[in-house]
């Protein structure tokens, strides 16, 4: 922790406080969506498709409706004929499919009944006739069968999106290079695995209004979509996000269970709850895209990158979801980390008959990060450079633009590298890249190695991530986040904000910031989040935007409240408002603190002077989108940076990998609550470990191979190593009190750091994740036979990318104006 308590004048900021909802969580009092029980409530269930791809020829609900205890049965015919999707460019979903199913798990019908058992029984009595079509289960298969169309729209048969952007002349850059590498990588898809399964309760009132309580990260987007899907005025719909037991990007769309609950409630006049099973959550998905990548990068002798050309192929699954954004994200963030003067990116997202992929933590960026960081490791070996030193030498410049026109502000990555290199003992433990000779000596920490068949290794990688997307999913000029603050005569302050706490702690941040500014205790602040009828819009808990955006809105509202309180207290004390300090629940002049006014009294004075004390704050990010098509994806107020060192052991007989320590340095701008920030970093590391070593959303015979918590392997605490977190504070001018994000970025470097450490340990290059024991043994066998010990994809698809949008590289230009806020 670099936050030096002495250098701050803050009372709340920087303190390791418990989250405001910590007690409710640990004693089990938090009411999640599935904990809601309303009078007369019915229980719903969805009937899902057993076919990967089929035409629906008949849906007959008569037998189900006749079952005692069944209140209503609906199919797609009972909903307005509307196609929807989270992005305006991908309106390709139906809540209940009417013509076609595109994956095993597509919803076709829904039942509301007296209990779940009856609803489940009724689902089995719904007769659906299908005419099976060929299911396309991989990128190659979808491209090879243009005669089978999963959707009719897109950039070609089964191609959802085809993009190509070029910033400068990469071929010329390669010609200038001392070393040019081409590598192919594959990143398997995986899912979010939130502890809480999706659930929703809908209640249609006799007045024709509708309320939906749902475990969602985006109540605002769900609100907008429901109005469209149900064809009713948005003004008559209220969406409340219940506490979310883990989101990670899996609760960012409007889903069939939410829509069906609404319609069933309208038809029955009863509240209807639909709680999804774990298996259904695997079908809802919207998780990490499987991505195949080809990356070509030029380097100078000293390790400088001359230019980079990246191609990505995304296996999108059956629907668009956020996929267009995901496609861009596989390309646009890589240039933010290192000096990369020339850049070309080509990406394609392909439809397949699998659950749709979407924005899992890191949204599209962990895959190319894995490719780039492993390739840098290989280049460092060829150039004879220490990979930690090489990275430090080529860092991007703060307050400049990247080749692809992104403005970067503060960069604490150099310090992050220093911290993890220092703490891990990198300089003594990392002794050159793998060689047979090096392994015959004792490896790092070799004194404690239990057997000669187990080899230790260390690897390093870095990354960058955005702190909030610079644009909303629908084009508008309104705030991205809003806060209303109301001061009460009791001395408490109510915060109303549309933000959704998905465990990241946004409710706590919304208490800390007003408490800091008003000099009260966070416990005096009551946070009322995520209710579309009460709270100003916050776009949602995604893209690491909430602390920054709702934080800035909360600061603005708090300052407005503080100003009027200061005026009232200043009049009472006959001093200048500017002379007043707010601390310890008092307002007064520091030099004359005995006369300071208690905060509740200060509120009363202010209310007497101004009337009801309610103030709004608004925030929208700076408008810095690049002036080219596609320039809207990638801009962010500021970027976080992470550096990670991993130490592990590889068992050469079993191929098993044991992680010992992860050192991670994270440039967070400022840690508003270091305890919470460290939790976010540790959670990211843990999730990264799972993606690196075991998690895979894989399919066999057209179905998900292991849709259960037992068989979808995700690490346990026993697989989680010691995690050493170092928070680096750069006090970014764009963030609230200088803060940047912490919830996603720290996942990114973990995966390539593990791959690089595996190479350091046993000399096997794993250009594919998850890295399984079988892959290690295969690599060792190749080495034994004198072949290159590389395990990974062997070829790339035959595919024609679009002609690129050619734009001048903006590399090295000074940053666009900083801290310009539209609603100041």
């Amino acid at each position: 922790m670099s936050a030096d308590a002495g250098k701050h004048e803050f009372a709340v900021i920087g303190q390791p406080l418990p989250k405001i909802d910590a007690w409710a969580k640990v004693v089990g009092e938090t009411k999640y969506a599935d904990d809601l029980f309303l009078p007369r409530m019915a229980y719903g269930r969805l009937l899902r498709s057993p076919h990967g791809h089929a035409r629906i020829t008949r849906v007959d609900t008569a037998r189900a409706r006749a079952l005692p205890g069944v209140y209503a049965v609906i199919s797609g015919a009972d909903l307005p004929r509307v196609r929807f999707g989270i992005l305006p460019v991908s309106q390709d979903e139906e809540a209940l499919c009417t013509e076609k199913v595109r994956m095993v798990g597509d919803a076709v019908a829904a039942v509301a009944a007296v209990d779940e058992e009856t609803a489940e029984h009724a689902c089995r009595l719904i007769d659906v006739d299908y005419e099976p079509l060929r299911a396309l289960m991989s990128i190659e298969e979808s491209l090879a069968h243009p005669e089978v169309r999963i959707h009719e729209y897109g950039d070609g048969p089964n191609v959802h999106k085809n993009v190509s952007l070029q910033f400068g002349d990469v071929e010329a850059a390669f010609a200038r290079s001392d070393l040019v590498r081409e590598d192919v990588f594959f990143f398997e898809g995986n899912t979010h695995l939130p502890m809480e399964q999706h659930a929703a309760v809908a209640a249609a009132g006799p007045d024709g209004k509708l309320t939906l309580w749902s475990s969602t990260q985006t109540p605002h987007y769900v609100h907008r979509l429901l109005a469209k899907i149900l064809d009713m005025p948005a003004a008559h719909i209220r969406v409340v996000a219940t506490p979310v037991g883990g989101g990670f990007g899996g609760k960012l769309d409007a889903f069939a269970h939410e829509i069906a609950a609404c319609r069933l409630s309208q038809l029955t006049g009863r509240p209807v709850k639909i709680a999804c099973s774990r298996e259904e959550v695997f079908y809802i998905h919207r998780g990490r895209h499987p991505v195949l990548m080809w990356i070509k990068t030029g380097f100078t002798r000293s390790g400088e990158i001359t230019g980079c050309h990246l191609r990505t192929w995304l296996d999108g699954g059956a629907y668009g979801s956020y996929g267009v954004a995901s496609t861009f994200y596989t390309g646009v963030i890589n240039p933010v980390t290192y000096r990369m003067p020339v850049y070309k990116f080509e990406g394609a997202r392909v439809f397949t008959n699998k659950p749709p992929c979407g924005p899992k933590r890191g949204h599209g960026t962990p895959q190319p990060r894995f490719a780039l960081e492993c390739q840098i490791d290989k280049a460092a070996e060829q150039l004879g450079l220490d990979p930690a030193e090489m990275r430090k030498r080529i860092l991007a410049e703060p307050f400049t633009k990247t080749a692809n026109h992104l403005t970067v502000t503060t960069i604490g990555l150099g310090e992050c590298i220093d911290r993890v290199v220092e703490a891990s003992g990198w300089r003594t433990k990392w002794r050159g890249f793998f060689s047979e000779e090096a392994t015959s000596r004792a490896r790092p920490g070799g004194a404690t190695a239990p057997s000669e068949k187990k080899r230790r290794g260390m690897g390093i990688a870095c990354s960058a991530y955005l702190t909030g997307a610079g644009t909303a999913v629908y084009w508008n000029h309104m705030p991205h986040s809003g806060v209303i603050l109301r001061a009460d005569r009791s001395g408490s302050v109510a915060v109303l904000c549309g933000a959704t706490d998905i465990g990241q702690g946004s409710d706590s941040i919304l208490a800390y910031l007003p408490a800091e500014i008003l000099g009260i205790d966070p416990k005096d602040v009551h946070v009322h989040p995520a209710d579309t009828s009460l709270t100003p819009v916050d776009l949602g808990s995604y893209s690491s935007r909430v602390t920054l955006m709702c934080g800035m809105a909360a600061i603005q509202a708090s300052q407005r409240l503080r100003e009027v309180i200061a005026q009232a207290v200043a009049r009472k004390l006959a001093v200048e408002p500017g002379a007043l300090a707010f601390r310890d629940r008092k307002v007064g002049v520091a030099a004359d603190w005995e006369r300071a006014v208690d905060f509740p009294q200060a509120v009363e004075l202010a209310e007497a002077m101004h009337g009801v004390l309610a103030f709004a704050g608004s925030y929208a990010p700076p408008r810095r989108a690049g002036k080219y098509k596609g320039g809207g994806v990638g801009p962010s107020p500021c970027y976080s940076y992470s550096a990670c060192v991993v130490e592990l052991t590889v068992d050469e007989e079993t191929g098993e990998i044991e992680l010992h320590d992860v050192w991670i340095g994270h440039d967070i701008g400022r840690a508003l609550n270091p305890l919470l920030a460290e939790g976010q970093v540790e959670g990211s590391v843990y999730m990264g470990i799972g993606e690196a070593l075991m998690e895979g959303q894989v399919f066999r015979k057209g179905v998900h191979k292991n849709p259960s918590l037992l068989e979808y392997k995700s690490p346990t605490t026993l697989e989680t190593p010691e995690i050493h977190t170092f928070l680096v504070e750069t006090n970014d001018p764009e963030g609230p009190f200088g803060a940047k994000e912490a919830g996603q970025g720290p996942l990114l470097p973990v995966i390539p750091a593990i791959a690089n450490a595996v190479y350091h340990a046993v000399g096997v290059r794993c250009d594919e994740v998850p890295i399984t024991p079988e892959m290690i043994l295969k690599g060792l066998e190749l080495r034994r036979r004198g072949k290159p010990a590389r395990v990974g994809p062997e070829r790339i698809p035959l595919f024609t990318f679009k002609a690129p949008v050619v734009v001048e590289s903006a590399f090295g230009q000074p940053a666009d104006a900083i801290a310009v806020r539209p609603f100041q």
Partner: protein, 338 residues
């Protein structure tokens, strides 16, 4: 969420009452102890018994009696947690304590019983799935269907014996007592199992496994190693149980039994025989490990690839024997047991 099908739960107080209840309901009834495997399976509709005869209220089925000198008897409803930490078992039948302590997670070991683990249903990743999933992929012969999805041309089911304790008990020469309304019998544990994924137990449906009888320890040393993806939760996808009886530094007798690579535990008699009369040197261990891998016939229906599980059989047998020889520490930490 997934819901249990409706059923009647009976809680007899004695084995006799349980046996009578079982006999009177015929095929409609099933036995349940901790329920850690049966209830999830019922939720997925692998079983839909109309009656469950619960064994947890029967006091005579709980507890560990006897000692290493005369042999130990374990009541079948002794929890896996209790078996794992029992001092007499940990000292004299260490492989059993290890195996019991490696089953699933601490919470499930607190509910799950040794008898339940010995009789645990065979597993297959085409079978341990919800009704809707199995319908989507096409039902298999173990439940609702006619073919085996792992080996479609095979007339039999290849679901995998997934007990940690069964191969250990076999390697220790244990016997089991079965009681029914008609009487009781005690049989060697190896005759309890059948090499069939569906009819994997030779126990009659009306019989209750009441006791597990371990022979006197008599100089036997034992070890158990388990392959799985994670350090907790997971069923074995390979379990290696080795037991050797030493006379000085010479092996007088030996048993090697491999679990989770077939529909029942697989003994490796040729490998065991190769140990007898020899010293536990690295060379002998390597040769024996090679022989022991022979009977392992894993198929592609669990976690990990089946060639990998086959390959690991050799490594795990070698490591288990090396740990008994004091050549290397056992691979799996027993620390999780605490």
């Amino acid at each position: 969420m997934l819901r249990l099908p409706p059923f009647t739960y009976l809680a007899p107080r004695t084995v006799d009452d349980a046996a009578k209840a079982l006999a009177s309901h015929g095929g409609a009834a099933m036995l349940v102890a901790g329920g850690t495997d049966l209830y999830p399976n019922m939720k997925r509709r692998q079983f839909e018994p109309s009656v469950l005869v619960g064994l947890l209220a029967i006091r005579e089925l709980r507890g560990v009696r006897g000692g290493a000198r005369e042999g130990v008897t374990l009541g079948s409803c002794t929890t896996l947690s209790a078996v794992a930490v029992h001092p007499e078992i940990a000292a004299h039948y260490p492989a059993l304590a290890t195996a019991a302590g490696l089953v699933s997670s601490p919470q499930l070991r607190n509910m799950g019983t040794i008898g339940g683990n010995v009789c645990v249903d065979t597993r297959c990743n085409y079978y341990n799935q919800s009704y809707e999933w199995r319908k989507a992929v096409g039902f298999c012969m173990k439940r609702d269907g006619a073919i085996c999805l792992v080996a479609p041309r095979s007339p039999r089911c290849w679901a995998v014996s997934s007990s940690d304790t069964a191969p250990v008990l076999w390697s220790l020469g244990a016997r089991v007592r079965l009681r029914s309304a008609a009487g009781e019998r005690t049989i060697p544990v190896e005759t309890l199992f059948r090499d069939d994924g569906i009819e994997y137990l030779a126990k009659r449906p009306d019989e209750i496994l009441t006791d597990i009888l371990l022979p006197p320890a008599d100089g036997w040393r034992s070890a158990y190693l388990k392959l799985r993806r994670r350090g907790s939760f997971d069923f074995p996808v390979l379990g290696v149980a080795v037991a050797v009886q030493m006379e000085g530094d010479v092996v007088r007798d030996a048993r090697i039994v491999v679990g989770a690579v077939a529909s029942q535990p697989r003994p490796a008699p040729a490998a065991a025989a190769a140990l007898v009369g020899g010293r536990l040197t690295s060379e002998l261990i390597a040769r024996v490990a090679e022989l022991a891998a022979g009977p392992a016939k894993p198929l592609d229906n669990t976690d990990f690839t089946h060639p990998y599980r086959k390959k690991m059989t050799r490594v795990f047998v070698a490591r288990a024997l090396a740990s008994l020889a004091g050549l290397a520490p056992a691979g799996e930490p027993a620390a999780e047991v605490a």
